[in-house]
Structures are given as C-alpha cells and as structure tokens.
Amino acid sequence: MTTTTPLRRTPLYDLHVAAGAKIVDFAGWQMPVQYAGLIEEHRAVRTAAGLFDVCHMGEVRVAGPGAEAFLQRLTPNDVAKLAIGRAHYSALLTPEGTFIDDLLVYRLGAAEFMLVVNAANAAGDLAWILAQPHPDCEVTDLSDETALLAIQGPRALAIVASLAASDPGALKAYGFAHGEVAGVPALISRTGYTGEDGFELYVAPAAAPGLWERLMAAGKEHGLVPAGLGARDTLRLEAGMALYGHEIDRTITPFEAGLDWVVKLDKGEFLGRETLQRQKAEGISRRLVGFEVSGRGIARQGHLFRHDGAEVGAVTSGTFSPTLERALGMGYLPVGLAAPGTEIVIDVRGRELPARVVPLPFYRRAR
C-alpha cells in the first residue's frame, strides 16, 4: 500500500476474523474475500444460502418536495414510475451518457428516496450529486449510519422468515418494507447481486453483529454459510451482472453495456440523454458479450480479443464458473462479432485461448 488513508472496517470485521476469513483490501475497506473456500461458498448460495457483509456500500438519502424531479434529471430510469416500497436499478451518467456509477434507487416515500452506490465510488458519487443543482431537496450521506447484510440463495426466504416479525415472502422482487429481523429494525429489501432470490437488510451498524449471528444460527439447518467478496464476484458474473470498473465505467454507455432497459429516453430531460438519443439513432459500434473459453485456461480482465489476427476488444471480467465448471467471462466486441456462436481468440499472457460468444446471462435460476 502506498496510500496513507487508513483502511476502514465494517462492524462485522471481528466476526469475519473469528470465522477464519481471509481479509483483503477492497475499495478502501478490509473485507472478507473468502471463508471456507470460494467454490464452496458459491455453491452454497446456488443451492442453499450465503450471508454477505456488504456494509461497505454507500447509501445516500435524497428527500424533499424536489426529490423526484431531481432524481429524474440525475438518473436515466423513470423515477416517476417507481412506487413507494419499490426499488429499481439505475445509474449516474455523465453528460456524455457514460457511467459514473450504477446504483439502486429506493422510493421510501412520495418525496423521499435512498440511493445505494458502490463503495469504490461512494465519495465521488456524493460529490457529483451535490454538485448538481438540487432545488427543494436535501442530500444526506447515510453510509456511516447504515450497515448492510445480504442473504442470498433459495433458502434465504425461509431463514429470514424464521426471524422476521412480518412475512418477507410478501415482498416481490425489488420490493422492500420496514420491519424487524431478530428484533432488529431493518429495511428488508428483496434484492441482491447473485442471480438468486434473497434479501438485503439495511440496519443500524451497532445492531449488525447481533443480526449476523442470529441469521447464521437460524440458517444453520438450511445450509447457510458466510460468503465473501470472491463468491459475490463469481455469482454476479454467472448472472451476467455488470460490475463498475469492469463492464461499466466512464467510457461505457448503458446501450453498449446491454442495459438499454435502464434508459427511458422518453421520460424527459436527464443527464446524458442527448448523447444517448444520438447513440440510439446512430447505433453502437461495440457491445458487451458473454464468452466461454473452449481451451484450458482462464481469460481475465484486460486480456485482448483477437479475430483474424486483429485486436478487436478486451475482457472486462473472467473467471472459472463454479456452477458451469468452465472458464467464462464478459467483454466488449465490435457489434459485427457480438453474435452468439462467433469464434474468437483471447490473448492470455501471450498464449491464444480459443473462445466463443454465448448469450448472457450464463446462469438463470429455475423459478
């Protein structure tokens, strides 16, 4: 480390260390990357349940009579259509229509919202949001007073239900409600980043360790395991979900990233709209694809795609998929080479690894 900024710890840090987690530096935080083993944790989430510490995520409250109008201008998804008790996926875009961050917008009330942003971008996002004119609304950073636990997997509902005061099964996907879990006041949200059913529980930091322990105890008979950032990454990748700094960043637009559904061009003015309207009319030149490696080896971020000897793009994420038991990944290719079935090669440390474009996501849970 060359920086002198002290690394931050979540309220659950001591529990992770006691559980034998391997701790890594991530976005300025000391986070558990794995406990018993990444593959085991990954499979537990697909077949039973996993518990994640995601306290490092940033939370921003936007409230006041002007809140809806402000968020309509700030983000590309249609906040006017977002009902109280619902969340949606959206983004912060530059005027050029590229990603400053991706985020969730929660509608807490008619004039009250919560934005949940990536840890690595939290400070920058807040500065960006505050720098935009935001008449008749207040922007407050809630990150320090908000802990976040994610419980994900087919058994997550049964586990949360066993501790909740009201039925969490009544929530639809992307729905949320204020309630109590193990006696802890929580915003219970049926959301996640794994491709599985599950919940994200927003609670006070002081209550987080107790809630973690109660969930682990109640989840034991369901096969619940603590899961680290390593499994979180392989799970989201199998589910074809973008990660900031990989699939999306300040050079990429939502159309290129295959996130067209996030952009509501006809909802009125918003940051990036003009550029995106133009891009919609003219078409994109590159797009995000999924690929499967045919040979032995793993393509990783930064490795280059070649086609007929020419460099045509780069891998944004790549891993060994514990569910499909093969190497796969995502990356950007010219639209002419983006069709599923297209054969490409990936330069992996000077060696040419054959790969094939496949549809996204790699994994979709049975419903």
């Binding site: 794995q34 083993g37 390593g230």
Partner: protein, 128 residues
C-alpha cells in the same frame, strides 16, 4: 508443516532432491494464498530451461500464479494427474500435488534455497 528434507524458494516453491532430479511443487502457504486451483499448465517432458525461467501457471478462481523452475535443466516428468485433479495442489501441496521433475544441470542452483526453518520464518515475516 514444511518438510525438513525439502528446500524452498522465495516464490513459495519447494524442491525435493532425488539424486540428480529435483521434484518441484508449491508450498502450503502458496496454495492457501491462491485458493482453489482449477487449472494447471505444466511443460512437456524434454523441454530445457534456465534457472528461474517461467515454466507454467497455476490458476485459481481468483488469481493466476507463475511457476518458476528453481534449477536449470531438463523436464523429465510433469504431474499428469493435475490435468484432471488440479485440486491435488490444495489437498496435498507437498506430496501428490507436485508439479514437475527436473534433471538439474548444476547443483549450485540449490545453494540459494532456504531450509524449512528459514522458509517458515520467511513466510511469517511476509504476513506481518
């Protein structure tokens, strides 16, 4: 933890000398750092390398590690079992998870290596 009769490198590899052959593997510390191994790329027998050349790679879900040969010489055998059972490196790094056997050309290449005690200390220092 670390077999006394082995020698160790700063790249967290171990070497077991059997006459003019070196068996090379990665240490328990290395496999723990890597996590679950999913692919191993080792050289074909007959290939000749200089000491410290990269001769292959070990890939886990999260990371990739290069394999270096601590000694100059010819590869006489590669661990074929790793193709189908790469997790041998996690399960038995100092035994069944061995990587290659090298017929070494200069015994002096072994002089730079650490003994088990020195390696243990080296690992402990790195963790601080």
């Amino acid at each position: 933890m670390y077999p006394k009769e082995y020698r160790y490198t700063r790249d967290h590899e171990w070497v077991k000398v059997e006459d003019d052959i070196c068996v090379v593997g990665v240490t328990d510390f290395a496999q723990q750092e890597l996590g679950e191994v999913v692919y191993v790329e080792v050289p074909e027998p007959g290939q000749v390398f200089n000491a410290h050349d990269e001769i292959g790679t070990i890939e886990s879900v999260k990371a990739v590690a290069e394999i270096f040969t601590p000694v100059a010489g010819e590869i006489v055998e590669a661990n074929e079992r790793l193709k189908d059972d790469p997790e041998l490196i996690n399960d038995d790094p100092h035994g069944d998870g061995w990587l290659v056997k090298v017929k070494f050309s200069s015994a002096s290449d072994l002089d730079d290596l650490m003994d088990a005690d020195a390696y243990e200390e080296y690992v402990a220092k790195g963790k601080e």
